[in-house]
């Protein structure tokens, strides 16, 4: 029997919810993708929580929230501890995307679903693979080989191929077959006739114009607004499609020598571009090629300014400009704030490049006709003052005392502990403390410093159980300590400086500005007020999602020609549409399971292995056909020394068999072939008229690969004449007879 394959969608079927699927192959459970959406609704993750402990490996396909957003939460809350596999860019950009999400949320709400530490630890045990790398699993998954392949859409985007015993299970969602400025499209030839194909129906009802035309329209629209003295806001994702937009804008600005400033504003903008610069191997051939030729890195941006906080944007001179700001849903983040500011001016343009997630502000604005006014919540983190501050401080003191007590107990217990142990225990303890005692107001990081300094004195053996920014080596001169007057100016930058080290501690390369937020030392709270924004600016949606459109998906699917097809992710309507289409044209086994419905797509294939004896092979004459060589064999089954089956030459006369014509006749090619051989030939009424009398027809379903009988039916008709035999001869020459 073939390999057993079961698929259970955990999220994201018959709707546009995030993606998350359980694929079990011979008892080895893969969680493919672990997505969340911009609402961060934990109820969506219920199905994952039920199976989390049984998962053996996690595969991530794209570096965006929809594909990996729930990973930190699931790792923390559901005891999901399986190894994670992804490509290098998915790992890096995914991490940055999560940072950006967290920081944007934290700014406007008491976000407590996961912390930056949770993100870090979730991404800690990611095994990074390169495209087309065959990674052999060991242990429980012995015999399973996983390999990521180019998917397009986002940098590092992956089509996963899971192979066991020669059968392929392919997971291909959100792929793009088109080559883009910075990405290659999928290579269809790597996935031919998989046993199971899991794909999405997200774009099944959606067709796009050509890329070049689209790019032009895009830049033209932006230029028009700028020339009319307007500002353009592009709500974008953190590190995905925005890279393509940046490339389009950058090359347009270079070509036309434009001077309007472009800003890329996310909490992690500069690290994003830093990392992206070293990911050239993952990008399109043309980017790699131009780098080899000129050594100009395509992401060495000349016209785009990278910003990590909004005040820098506010300081920029007034006037027309383009701002790419996260998040695409306008639910939070910089894009939200900028939208509220700019929407009231009719000169401005808000240009959406992807469909907003369901139920978000972006989606609302993309409706046709767009709403005249929208209600938004403006939230802001403000420092505590007056009574609140006093209350807060009292609370802090109480916690501090508790901490001190706890710490002293622990210290007593481990007073004899060694260097390293001491170091290890004191550090996590502080963090635990803050998460077990959620503070009523303000971010959790507030108490750290005080606790550390006042709460207990670190043992002398401990290296430095504190954050590195205390190690300020002060310089002395004749007048005492060298001071920097700037140190005494109370400014926001002060915070940035201090927090810079913390950011470095977290990942080494996090932006300074954003780091200031995470460990804002001032007690603060979130103040929200609702207001109604009159939407006067123009709103526009252009599809730059970088996904294959309906027509291409259909042709790709019939090219891949899976034996079984599983459809996920997409509205009920789109899923149903694609299902019907595929049943007719692709393959007879199309499944579209409901959430938590387990379907068994074990191939009903039978197979056994035999050894081909030398004797048999020496008598086999292969005929070459493209990549294949085929021959007819008649053999007798025997046993080898180690008891496996072997095929020996047959001792008696071989039984006669029906002859087989192998080959794929393309009418158009054959027509050309005949014409080259001097036969008058033309198409008429679906048939090929060869010479004066003979007609040639192909009957039956044209897409023979999709189920059906699989055999082409060709009819040749004509009166008895020389020509008939000649054309038949030509026709035979297109096939191999076995």
């Amino acid at each position: 029997m073939g390999t057993s394959v079961q698929i259970t969608p955990l999220c994201g079927v018959y709707n546009e919810n995030p993606l998350s699927y359980l694929v079990s192959i011979d008892g080895f459970n893969f969680l493919i993708d672990c997505g969340w959406n911009d609402h961060f609704d934990p109820s969506l993750l219920q199905p994952i929580s039920r199976v989390a402990s049984t998962i053996d490996a996690v595969l991530l396909s794209h570096p965006d929230t929809l594909h990996l957003g729930a990973l930190p939460y699931a790792m923390k809350q559901f005891a999901l501890s399986a190894p994670v596999f992804s490509t290098e860019p998915v790992y890096r950009l995914g991490l940055l995307t999560m940072y950006d999400q967290y920081l944007s949320r934290k700014q406007v709400s008491e976000f407590d679903l996961f912390t930056l530490d949770d993100i870090d630890s979730a991404f800690q045990n990611v095994t990074r693979l390169t495209y087309s790398q065959n990674h052999h699993l060991s242990g429980k998954g012995e015999g399973i080989v996983i390999s990521p392949h180019v998917a397009g859409h986002l940098l590092g985007g992956t089509v996963w191929k899971i192979t066991k015993d020669g059968e392929d299970v392919i997971y291909a969602v959100d792929f793009n077959h088109r080559k883009e400025k910075h990405l290659n499209g999928i290579n269809q030839s790597s996935f031919v006739r998989p046993a199971v194909l899991i794909t999405d129906a997200y774009n099944a009802l959606n067709n796009q114009p050509y890329r070049r035309q689209k790019d032009k329209e895009f830049t033209d629209t932006i230029k028009k607004t700028l020339r009319a003295d307007g500002k353009v806001l592009l709500p974008v994702d953190t590190a995905g499609r925005v890279l393509e937009l940046i490339q389009i804008l950058e090359s347009c600005w270079v070509e036309e020598n434009l001077n309007y400033p472009i800003f890329f504003l996310t909490y992690v903008a500069s690290s994003t571009i830093d990392y992206v610069k070293s990911f050239l191997e993952w990008m399109s051939d043309s980017i790699a090629k131009s780098f080899e030729k000129t050594r100009d890195n395509a992401f060495l941006l000349k016209h785009v300014t990278l910003l990590v906080n909004k005040s820098e944007l506010d300081n920029a001179p007034e006037g027309p400009k383009v701002v790419l700001a996260s998040m695409a849903s306008l639910e939070a983040g910089f894009s939200h704030d900028i939208f509220v500011e700019w929407a009231t001016d009719a000169k401005n343009l808000v240009l959406f490049t992807e469909r907003g997630q369901f139920g978000t502000l972006a989606r609302m604005l993309q409706a046709d006709p767009p709403p005249k006014a929208v209600k938004v919540t403006m939230s802001k983190r403000v420092p505590l003052v007056g009574e609140e501050l006093i209350a807060y401080e009292e609370e802090q003191n109480r916690i501090k005392k508790e901490e001190a007590l706890k710490a002293s107990i622990i210290k007593e217990e481990e007073s004899k502990a060694s260097h390293g142990a001491d170091d290890n225990t004191s550090d996590p303890m502080v963090i635990d403390a803050s998460s077990t005692h959620p503070l009523p107001d303000g971010p959790h990081g507030v108490g750290y410093r005080d606790i550390l300094i006042d709460g207990f004195v670190p043992s002398s053996t401990s290296v430095a159980p504190m954050f590195p920014f205390y190690e300020n080596t002060s310089e002395w001169d004749d007048f005492g300590e060298v001071i920097n007057p700037d140190d005494y100016v109370i400014k926001d930058e002060d915070m940035d400086q201090a927090a810079m080290h913390v950011g470095g501690d977290l990942d080494g390369k996090l932006d300074e500005g954003s780091a200031s937020l995470m460990l804002d030392t001032k007690p603060s709270k979130v103040v929200s007020n609702e207001l109604t924004v009159q939407v006067k600016s123009s709103l526009l949606y252009m599809d730059f999602e970088g996904r294959s459109d309906a027509r291409s998906i259909k042709s790709i699917l019939s090219h891949m020609a899976p034996l079984k097809l599983v459809l996920v992710h997409g509205t009920a309507e789109a899923t149903e549409h694609l299902k019907q289409h595929c049943l007719k044209h692709v393959c007879p086994h199309v499944y579209a399971p409901q959430i938590e419905e387990t379907i068994d797509v074990t191939s009903d294939l039978c197979a056994y292995k035999v050894q081909l004896s030398e004797k048999l092979m020496s008598n086999v004459l292969f005929k070459k056909l493209g990549d294949y060589e085929i021959a007819w064999v008649d053999a007798e089954v025997g046993k080898t020394e180690n008891d496996s089956l072997s095929l020996q030459p047959i001792s008696t006369a071989p039984p006669p068999h029906k002859s087989v014509l192998v080959g794929d006749l393309k009418m158009a090619n054959f027509k050309q072939f005949l014409a080259d051989n001097g036969v008058q030939v033309e198409f008429s009424g679906g048939a090929l008229r060869c010479g004066e009398y003979v007609t040639l027809r192909k009957v039956g379903d044209a897409s023979h690969k999709g189920g059906g009988s699989g055999t082409q039916q060709i009819v040749i008709e004509g009166p008895l004449c020389e020509e008939y035999y000649k054309i038949r001869e030509y026709l035979y020459s297109q096939f191999y007879l076995l």
């Binding site: 390169t130 495209y131 087309s132 790398q133 020669g166 031919v192 006739r193 610069k277 070293s278 050239l280 191997e281 790699a288 780098f291 030729k293 050594r295 100009d296 470095g504 034996l563 039978c606 197979a607 056994y608 292995k609 035999v610 081909l612 092979m617 292969f622 056909l625 493209g626 990549d627 294949y628 060589e629 085929i630 021959a631 007819w632 064999v633 008649d634 053999a635 007798e636 025997g638 006369a653 039984p655 006669p656 029906k658 002859s659 087989v660 014509l661 192998v662 794929d664 023979h704 690969k705 055999t711 082409q712 039916q713 060709i714 009819v715 040749i716 004509g718 009166p719 026709l731 096939f735």
Partner: protein, 692 residues
């Protein structure tokens, strides 16, 4: 070389003998018992791979090339380049542009980017006459389009050759290639180092053990000092020389290891403020141009570099130096200049200037090739010959501190121990060093049947791998696993080196191939009664059934269930059948018959009795069989109880004509006689009806 005898020509490619098919040939075309011009040829199962394509730095012109004459470049399927060093990559433009090579070339991204810069520079600085030039800049640019890139661990398949590469440590982008042909794996290490340094990762250990390991042996049985000791020696020598007011010359290859040395120097300078007024010059125009490559391909560097906050390759204390004209020799300085062998160029000019002053020092930081000045001065001769031909006293200090990131004896042993390959081929090592390493490895692997080989250039090493061909029977054919003795018939489909057996109906399911049915319909004018045809057909064919067409009701005759003859109208009939050789033949005979009827005047035909008896038939058959066998085997006699005795070259076979059984001592003859007899029989006997 002469004693090894004539190496077998590699141009011959025959695979008729099965044994020949299992033979894996490895031939070093360069770097066999020498260092330089790495190029190793490998062939197995009709697939050929060439590893590396370098030049010998001590020679110039054609003499520097590997022995390409030994092979036919057009037969090579894949060429794999491990890293950008000249002795591994510099004959590539020549090989791509000036030979018949038509295969595909692969190297890593970083290698490709640096390859172009390096070779362009090489063409510019090499001072040879135009005739001696192996290639020019144009050739390099053209070669860039043909070079394909491969990422570490990425698996690529070309013509059934699967290969992927691992980090090798040696320089940025250096790779070790694993090639898999029909399940036999060969690992070619190129230059590798198992020690992590300031910017590179150590060579990985492959996940699978190879069957053959082609490994470098540059350092033979030498042991490297630990890295920090070497670094300390290096910085100490420089520091003390400068302190005495001397100058330090570091002849180094422009790229690769130079970056490591600069990282060391830059760090040392920033830690020693007292040195910061001493200039360090790095005399290479390439360095600046390669900077962006070093910035970009950080994924193949170690975590130190990847997580660094600022780019460590932007040096604080090191300034570039364009040429000797721009160099003001006023007091102590440190100059790193190429070439590393002091053959010519800036490093030689400086050497000539500084060699007689004993305050000065020359630090040779890596492996030096036999035949270069650098190699000579390591032995500290009293005098040296300058470029202008004069001799001068060699008074400057010469220090040899190796940073050249080749594996030493301990690393090689440990690496091979982990891999445990049954065959080890040593290349890229000077003969003596290689010999010593071989001895050491022989001792190390004494308890295992490991073969250790050290072929010279053009000397082929042959190994045999008994590959068992396994096929997978799938689909309808495999619905139940057959018992011993049962017959399996189906299509054997081969793709690359994997085999599948399947029923013809399943072909389109498991491969991209499809099958076709051709239905033929031919109309023939016919004016006579339809029954005449029927009558005549019955005389020839055993199975002739008449019926009427379901739709039109016209009378039809079906012959052998294959060909249908339809009486379409009074003036013509039509034939329908599905193409296959037998049906085509049947239909042809029907056509002939019908035409014959058309020609003849209708007449009454007497059904003649079948005159020939069975016996006569038999006799005739026997005679024909005998005659055919004679024509095939020559000596065929009638033996006892109806057996035929066939003797060929002293081997005798007895053939039982009834059963087709053959008895013979000689297996080969037995098989041949049996096959011949079977074919003759099928030619003689009527076609069986149960064709379908």
């Amino acid at each position: 070389m002469a004693s090894t005898g004539q190496p077998p020509s590699l141009k011959r490619r025959d695979s008729s003998v099965t044994r020949e098919e299992d033979k894996l040939v490895v031939t070093p075309l360069g770097a066999g018992n020498e260092v330089g011009r790495s190029c190793v040829y490998m062939s197995y199962k009709g697939k050929t791979v060439l590893f590396d394509c370098g030049i010998h730095p001590a020679y110039s012109g054609m003499a520097a090339l590997p022995y390409f004459d030994e092979i036919d470049p057009s037969t090579i399927d894949v060429l794999l380049i491990t890293h950008f060093h000249l002795d591994h990559a510099a004959s590539l433009p020549y090989f791509l542009e000036k030979t018949t090579f038509r295969g595909r070339v692969f190297m890593t991204y970083a290698t490709k980017a640096i390859y172009k810069l390096l070779l362009t520079d090489y063409v510019k600085v090499s001072k040879v006459s135009v005739e001696d030039m192996l290639f020019d800049e144009q050739d390099i640019n053209r070669s860039m389009d043909k070079i394909e890139v491969i990422d570490f661990h990425q698996t690529v398949e070309v013509n059934g050759i699967r290969f992927w590469c691992y980090t090798a440590g040696h320089v940025l982008g250096a790779a070790m290639f694993m090639v898999d042909i029909a399940g036999v794996r060969v690992l070619y290490t190129g230059d590798y180092s198992r020690e992590e340094d300031r910017h590179l990762r150590a060579a990985e250990t492959p996940q699978f053990s190879p069957d053959v390991c082609i490994i470098e042996s540059t350092y033979g049985v030498q042991h490297h000092q630990p890295r920090h000791i070497r670094e300390k020696r290096f910085t100490d020598v420089i520091h003390s020389t400068i302190a005495q007011g001397g100058r330090v010359l570091i002849p180094a290859f422009a790229l690769g290891r130079a970056q490591e040395l600069l990282l060391i120097l830059d760090e040392y300078w920033s830690n020693h403020p007292e040195l910061q007024n001493i200039p360090i010059y790095y005399a290479s125009p390439l360095a600046k141009r390669c900077l962006s490559v070093y910035e970009t391909y950080t994924l193949s560097m170690n975590d130190r570099i990847r997580n660094a906050k600022s780019n460590p390759f932007i040096f604080k204390y090191i300034s570039p130096l364009k040429s000797i004209e721009n160099f003001k020799d006023v007091g102590p300085s440190v100059v790193m200049a190429s070439p590393s062998g002091l053959q010519s160029g800036l490093s030689r000019q400086l050497f000539d200037m500084w060699c007689s002053d004993k305050k000065n020092a020359c630090v040779i930081p890596g492996y030096v090739v036999e035949g270069t000045l650098a190699k000579t001065i390591i032995n500290e001769p009293k005098e040296v010959t300058l470029m202008n031909g004069l001799t001068a006293a060699l008074n400057m200090q010469v220090h040899y501190i190796s940073f050249s990131a080749h594996a030493d004896s301990a690393q090689t042993s440990a690496f091979l121990e982990e891999l445990g390959p049954p065959n080890i081929i040593l290349v890229h090592g000077e003969a003596n060093e290689m010999g010593r390493l071989k001895q050491k490895l022989v001792t190390q692997f004494a308890d295992r049947s490991t073969k250790i080989l050290t072929p010279r250039n053009c000397q082929s090493v042959e190994m045999y791998f008994n590959s068992q061909k396994m096929a997978k029977a799938i689909g309808k054919l495999a619905e139940k696993t057959p018992e011993v003795g049962e017959v399996v018939s189906g299509l054997l489909v081969k793709k690359g080196f994997s085999y599948q057996i399947m029923a013809p109906d399943d072909l389109h399911v498991f491969s991209q191939l499809s099958t076709a049915n051709i239905t033929q319909r031919i109309t023939i004018p016919y004016h006579t009664a339809f029954s005449v045809i029927k009558q005549r057909l019955k005389q020839i064919y055993e199975s002739v059934e008449s019926s009427a067409d379901e739709e039109s009701g016209v009378p039809t005759v079906r012959v052998h269930d294959q060909v249908t003859v339809k009486h379409e109208s009074d003036s013509h009939i039509s034939l329908h059948w599905t193409s296959d050789p037998i049906s085509d033949m049947v239909s042809d005979s029907i056509v002939a018959l019908v035409l014959n009827i058309n020609r003849e005047v209708p007449k009454v035909v007497v059904e003649s009795e079948d005159i020939k008896t069975e016996e006569e038939n038999e006799k005739k058959t026997e005679k024909v069989i005998h005659a055919l066998l004679v024509s095939l085997f020559g000596d065929v006699k009638f033996g006892e109880n109806g057996k035929l005795v066939i003797s060929v070259d002293g081997n005798v076979a007895q053939l039982d004509k009834q059963s087709g059984d053959v008895e013979s001592e000689n297996e080969g003859l037995k098989e041949r006689v049996r096959t011949a007899f079977r074919r003759i029989q099928s030619a003689m006997k009527p076609i069986p009806l149960s064709a379908s």
